[in-house]
Symmetry: C2
Subunit: 276 residues, 2 copies
Amino acid sequence: MCIANSVCGNAFRGLAECEDEMALAENEAELYKIKLMAPVFDKRDKLIEKIPFFWNIALTQHSDFSNYVRASDFKYIEAIKKIVVKPLALEDEECTARDFQITIEFNEIKGDLKAQHVSKVFKIEKDVSKILIKKNRTAEDDELDADLGFLTSEPVNIDWPKSYDNINPELISDKSTPEGKKNYRTGMKTFFAWFKWTGLKPGKEFPNGDALANLFNEELYPYCVKYYTEAQRDVMDESDGDSEDDSDAPLDLDLEEVNDEEGSDSKHLNKKTKLQ
Amino acid sequence: MCIANSVCGNAFRGLAECEDEMALAENEAELYKIKLMAPVFDKRDKLIEKIPFFWNIALTQHSDFSNYVRASDFKYIEAIKKIVVKPLALEDEECTARDFQITIEFNEIKGDLKAQHVSKVFKIEKDVSKILIKKNRTAEDDELDADLGFLTSEPVNIDWPKSYDNINPELISDKSTPEGKKNYRTGMKTFFAWFKWTGLKPGKEFPNGDALANLFNEELYPYCVKYYTEAQRDVMDESDGDSEDDSDAPLDLDLEEVNDEEGSDSKHLNKKTKLQ
């Protein structure tokens, strides 16, 4: 069908060059966007700190988040005071637009959880030889990961809640007993185990740690105000008009009073967040 | 839970401002990307023209495309010589990064389809009062479309294939007869009816015309080389090693010969396209 194969051949070579140029242009555009958004995110982080339970409300509103943590973790999700996702390219020119750092700050839960903030760095890796556990990996997985890159992370320390002592992997004395195995496996599925996730030991660490990291980076952090506002709207819809129940609904109480006082603020907020 | 409601109130007002600033920053970043990509797309358009059946192969490879057109349309999809999607913001500063123009060029099919190229412009509209048919629309649909905007388009003329005379809406003399109704409805579902789609008459024009436009703008055009390459790989996998069948597989024939001649070009292409 080709008039001359060399014509097609040159065209294919040219298309491959275009794909390279497009990938570079996309990275440059992404870096431009990162620099443009950074000051707005900084401003937003400071405002969010003033709103009680903001992160608990925003995270629990997202339909996917609960699939990555255990039900018992939500007590500790409620203790999250601050979440910040920063593209590494802002400080390190060696990094691509796809590398980022997630910082999570926990309030103290007396006698159970220590007040702490933990930062975890996520970088795109293309060297599949670094993957330590090859079990269940096909040659196509390797080829794809080598081409597209895959997310990796250094393990970081976090103080686990006291209530998790029995499933805390570092406190399980004997992992060989059925009981020990069971507790170890359970512990590896908690939100706290995610901080040790590396991306190099599939099946032997927190499951889908990369997907949870991407969820924070691509949805939970950039659109947190949208999720918070949706939750606010839901609460208002539920308790429409019966203010004597407000005392049982702190979130609702706050917002109702804010609305009385601040007029159409929250409607305004609703509208804007839809733009996301 | 708020220390003082005015604190929360100010925080909410500040967050609403942040959402505005983020929307503006996102549009600016998108415009920057558009300008960065434009020369690469122009270069790519010229190369694609040299590859026979490129668009037929790329479009039919996409899993969704076939959901928007009728099986009988594929004869005419095969006649597509060129597809170009251009962001309107490149030429008109009044346009947002979300407005675009799709140009499709058809080869002649003797005695059936005229050689022609048709350009259709798609713009984001926020004035829901312009929607002429409100049936099956909820107040929430209106609120959402007014906030997020919805896609609209001016109808454009295209010469329909002779073989479609019986279902060509403009040639159906009496649409009131059962036969006329049936043919009219069938005609409105062909790819050719999409060119008259406005987005203002839901239920009375080509169905999901906006989704098809977005499919061209967001997937089929930017990643066409990826789809073409996937199709090429599939054909090669199927006919691995039996070259006597190549004569029945024009696509395969071209590429096999190109590969023999051009060495690792097509592998190179495969690799690059995965970066998309």
